[in-house]
């Protein structure tokens, strides 16, 4: 089956390997990921920062496009995109005035079909019909972890992995409704479903430093270091993330972290779909291992793919 998928610009442009691992993993679950036509950046944090309506245009256009293509669900693997799409959607569902104003604004959109050059000028109002899901939620609720277990092709041997939620997935709770902000467990359940052992550590919901990497890099370095150190101290052999920005801060900047905090020995950072793909038997050549600055080959070694029953 086909499923609408919003990779987001960071994943698509900066770490395409992670995008490919996602698609490969989902293929093993008989799901083809389709991008909505002409999608744009969701606006990152901006649609939610100001009380302005225009910022909502970008995410709402994406969601409207999904609806117009007949979709009722869109999944994303980026925590930021997830937060923006979901909260923009909710703002529209909950606030009739916002709904009216953004639709009045978007009604004037013009779309030109690249092949026929046909102009579309009429758009139906979008009222929040599409459901925004993070791929983790989709795997739990629509695919089901038991079904993933049935499809496993590799035994990951209860590899101890730390699930890192970061800040975007869980809060604000009323709007995200993803998991318990203080004691989340969805990501851990996912890790167990793919055959890893989830490591409990207190920094799983702390921020990695996010965009401070641009304005206050030292603060971001410290924030990322604390997360990595805590995971390592609690016995993790790798840390897994659901967000390309977390991936960047924790992985790409680990050299800086190591240089700043000399006691830190380093910790591989993997994207959650890489683990899923690997467990489902995807070949390591398409896992996007080239994206890693901290070699993660140790995580994806071991036994060749066989039929695994759990």
């Amino acid at each position: 089956m086909k499923l609408h998928y919003y990779p987001g610009c960071t994943l698509k442009e900066k770490t395409p390997g992670l995008d490919i691992s996602t698609r490969e993993a989902m293929k093993r679950l008989d799901i083809e990921l389709v991008e909505p036509e002409g999608w744009t950046c969701c606006g990152a944090e901006y649609p939610l920062t100001a009380e302005k309506i225009s910022g909502l245009a970008a995410p709402i256009r994406v969601l409207r496009q999904v609806r117009d293509e007949g979709g009722d669900v869109i999944v994303t693997t980026c925590s930021f995109c997830y937060s923006v799409l979901k909260r923009s959607n909710k703002a529209l569902q909950d606030d009739p005035l916002k709904r009216k104003r953004i639709n009045a604004f978007l009604r004037d959109d013009i779309k030109i079909d690249p092949l026929t050059k046909e102009r579309t000028t009429h758009f139906e109002d979008y009222n929040g019909e599409v459901q925004v899901l993070h791929l983790l939620e989709y795997l739990r609720d629509r695919v089901g972890f038991p079904r993933i277990r049935e499809r496993l092709k590799r035994d990951l041997g209860n590899l101890p992995i730390a699930a890192y939620y970061g800040c975007r997935l869980l809060r604000p709770k009323d709007e995200m409704d993803f998991d318990e902000p203080d004691s989340p467990h969805l990501f851990e359940e996912f890790l167990e479903a793919v055959g890893c052992a989830a490591v409990d550590y207190p920094f799983k919901q702390e921020c990695c430093g996010s965009y401070l990497v641009v304005s206050l890099p030292d603060a971001a370095t410290e924030a990322s270091y604390r997360v990595l150190r805590s995971a390592k101290m609690n016995g993790a052999e790798a840390i897994t993330v659901t967000c390309p920005l977390c991936f960047y801060n924790l992985d790409h900047r680990q050299e800086t972290i190591k240089a700043t905090y000399l006691d830190f020995p380093g910790l591989p950072v993997v994207f959650f779909t890489q683990l899923l793909a690997w467990a489902l038997g995807v070949d390591r050549s398409v896992l996007g291992l080239g994206e890693h600055r901290v070699p993660a080959d140790g995580v994806f070694s071991g036994t060749p793919a066989t039929e695994v029953r759990t």
């Binding site: 318990e180 902000p181 203080d182 004691s183 207190p202 920094f203 805590s230």
Partner: protein, 658 residues
């Protein structure tokens, strides 16, 4: 009725009150009196600055006599305030008090409007409607009822015990019902009490003994109130006696049963910090002094399966066949002293209370400090028994948080946290105590001096700010917070964290309160009849409030409130007979079709079907005159005295006619 009113027109007097400027600044009171002077039925009309004053009342009395009035309208404040005053004035003038009508032109008019012209117009309409009603009012006689001079106290904590002792010392009998195996409540669990540091047990146990020995107090521990019916002065109570499986009259506390019992359970007295056996005595000074068998943790009350305790009991006190029984009692008043519980630490997941053994709540720390506690009074942390060298205390854990938790202040936490920190510093002189606070509230006799001692002599570090997170690193707890005076983030390595959890309504008390039909506030604490002037009474007559069931308070305040409730009960019992309002809803047998809709509507069980006559019968003593039945009756057979359908419709007509 209308025909009767027409034949003999009433002589109605109208008195419009200025209430200083409360009414007069918005309503043109003189105009109201003037406009209605010639309104049909009105014989006399006047305005006066304070109708409730002595001269104001005298004016009513004199006018009734002079003008031979037989109906009075006082246009003033809400009838809940001065209806009784004016009824009494009418009685002094020889007029039936139920001929008094109060037209509320203050709360329902002047206080909620600003436009003088419109408000005056509204006042006129309100008064007109009451004139219409007054024309049809009848003379009524109050119903007199006997009083059962015996009180029920629900709850055997310090508030219940104090109330029971005071009522008994007034000379009346008291029944104390406590759901737990022993009386003592939360106070018996405390270590020392602020600000004097007396040992809590040492000051409470004499009261417990006094209650158990008092000739006029009947103690029913391990009992629960199951149902209550009746009304002030005449309640019938069904009390459930839970099976203790030990005959308390035979048990001699030899303790042999406890020694052989193979089952353990968390010890409630120690807040689960230690274990007890399934057959146990809650604490050494427990009253009544008897063992109790906890069926939930027992291997199964089946002598074939275990039966060890029964085998060793010389006194043959253990009886596995005990069943729950019902006790019925008649009482005239009820003191509700059901206490409080602490807000669950689970609600504050970021503080790790559910995850880490060394994050404890205030009551658990009381047990750790207490000489009768799990550590014998030495401060040792639950996880590994080590003496903590650094403790962080977090005030307002759940309190004063309008966003996520409870908006109110739990009142006692500032003081007990100061006490905790002080006691800790006394017991562990090289330990570091740090307190996070929002404000330190020390309003109470000698409270601030105590707090200053904690800071200055005992060197407890107070940081103004909130804690954001507590987590474990190695065997340390890391506390993240903020110092809002310096604006800096704070990170503290601690061995233990004590959360001053908010006080909340007692767990499971809502079922009981529903049975008692007494109102609570939005947080489930008991609602008083008036926040300032009737603070220890419930709006439901005959029920009195004491202790933390009514809201967070400390021990002296709890004791004072319990004594006040007892004094109120004493006042009630000192009356020869009680007066019941006659504004009840009788049944017109000729109109009643026997549909019994009103029977289901009545919240006071005052109405029942009379099977012989096929109509509804009313117990007017139970009827509170709420009017629910009158509204529901499809045939008009249920008419409330002095608020009949005729009166309501004529009020509407008077109000709606221009």
């Amino acid at each position: 009725m209308t025909a009767k009113a027409k034949t003999k027109e009433k002589r109605i007097g109208l008195f419009v009150c200025h209430c200083g400027v409360n009414i007069a600044s918005v309503v043109d009171v003189e105009k109201v009196a003037r406009v209605l002077k010639d309104y049909p039925g009105v014989t006399f009309s006047a305005d006066y600055v304070y109708m409730c004053s002595d001269p104001g009342q005298q004016m009513i009395i004199d006018t009734i006599k002079e003008k031979h009035l037989d109906g009075i309208i006082v246009a003033a404040c809400s009838p809940t305030l001065h209806e009784k005053t004016f009824q009494e004035a009418a009685r002094l003038a020889g007029l039936n008090p139920y001929q008094i009508e109060i037209a509320n032109i203050r709360e329902q008019d002047s206080w909620v409007h600003t436009d003088k012209e419109k408000a005056t117009k509204k006042a006129v309409k309100i008064v007109k409607s009451h004139v219409a009603k007054a024309r049809l009012n009848e003379n009524l006689e109050p119903i007199k009822v006997d009083v059962t001079r015996r009180a029920l106290v629900i709850g055997g904590g310090v508030s219940g015990l104090q109330a029971a002792l005071d009522i008994a010392d007034h000379g009346y009998e008291v029944i104390v019902v406590e759901k737990n195996p022993s009386i003592g409540g939360k106070m018996i669990q405390l270590s020392e009490t602020f600000p004097t540091l007396d040992c809590s047990q040492c000051i409470l146990t004499p009261k417990m003994v006094e209650v158990s020995r008092h000739p006029r107090i009947k103690l029913l521990t391990y009992h629960e109130v199951d149902a209550i019916s009746g009304f002030v002065g005449n309640f019938k109570v069904r009390i459930k006696k839970k099976p203790r499986y030990v005959d308390e009259t035979l048990c001699n506390l030899c303790g042999e049963c406890e020694k052989v019992c193979p089952q353990i359970a968390p010890d409630e007295f120690n807040e689960g910090l230690s274990f007890r056996k399934a057959i146990y005595m809650p604490f050494p000074q427990a009253i009544p002094g008897t063992y109790t068998l906890d069926a939930e943790h027992c291997l199964g009350l089946n002598p074939v399966r275990c039966g060890k305790c029964k085998d060793v009991c010389d006194k043959k006190a253990i009886d596995y066949d005990m069943k729950e029984t019902i006790v019925e009692e008649e009482v005239g008043a009820v003191v509700v002293a059901t206490g409080y519980d602490l807000y669950t630490m689970q609600a504050l997941g970021e503080y790790g209370g559910e995850k880490y053994d060394d994050v404890v709540n205030g009551l658990e720390f009381e047990r750790i400090l207490s000489a009768s506690g799990p550590t014998g009074g030495e401060v040792r942390r639950p996880s590994d028994g080590k003496v903590p060298k650094s403790i962080v205390f977090v005030q307002c854990s759940g309190s004063r948080d309008t966003e996520k938790h409870l908006p109110y202040c739990s009142k006692i936490c500032c003081m007990y946290t100061a006490k905790h920190a002080m006691m800790y510093r006394h017991k562990v002189p090289d330990g570091q105590a740090t307190v996070f606070y929002i404000d330190v509230r020390t309003g109470g006799k000698s409270f601030d001096e105590f707090y200053m001692r904690t800071v200055e002599e005992d060197k407890v570090l107070y940081i103004r700010g909130k804690v954001s997170k507590v987590f474990k690193e190695g065997d340390k707890l890391i506390v993240w917070g903020v110092d809002t005076l310096t604006g800096k983030k704070v990170e503290i390595e601690a061995d233990m964290v004590v959360l001053a959890m908010a006080m909340v309504k007692a767990d499971g008390v809502q079922d009981l309160l529903k049975k008692l039909k007494i109102a609570t506030d939005i947080h489930g604490f008991l609602a008083e009849a008036h926040p300032k002037l009737r603070p220890v009474e419930s709006l439901n007559a005959g029920f009195y409030l004491a202790g933390c069931a009514h809201g967070p308070k400390d021990i002296p305040e709890t004791v004072a409130q319990a004594s006040a409730a007892a004094a109120k009960v004493g006042g009630l019992f000192a009356q020869k007979e009680l007066i019941h309002e006659p504004t009840t809803v009788p049944v017109n047998d000729e109109l009643c079709s026997g549909c019994a809709i009103c029977v289901t509507m009545c919240p006071y069980t005052a109405r029942s079907m009379d099977p012989d006559r096929g109509v509804v019968a009313v117990n007017e003593i139970l009827c509170e005159g709420c009017g629910a039945c009158a509204a529901a009756c499809p045939s008009g057979a249920a008419q409330q005295r002095n608020t009949t359908d005729d009166q309501i419709f004529s009020m509407l007509r008077a109000m709606l006619r221009e």
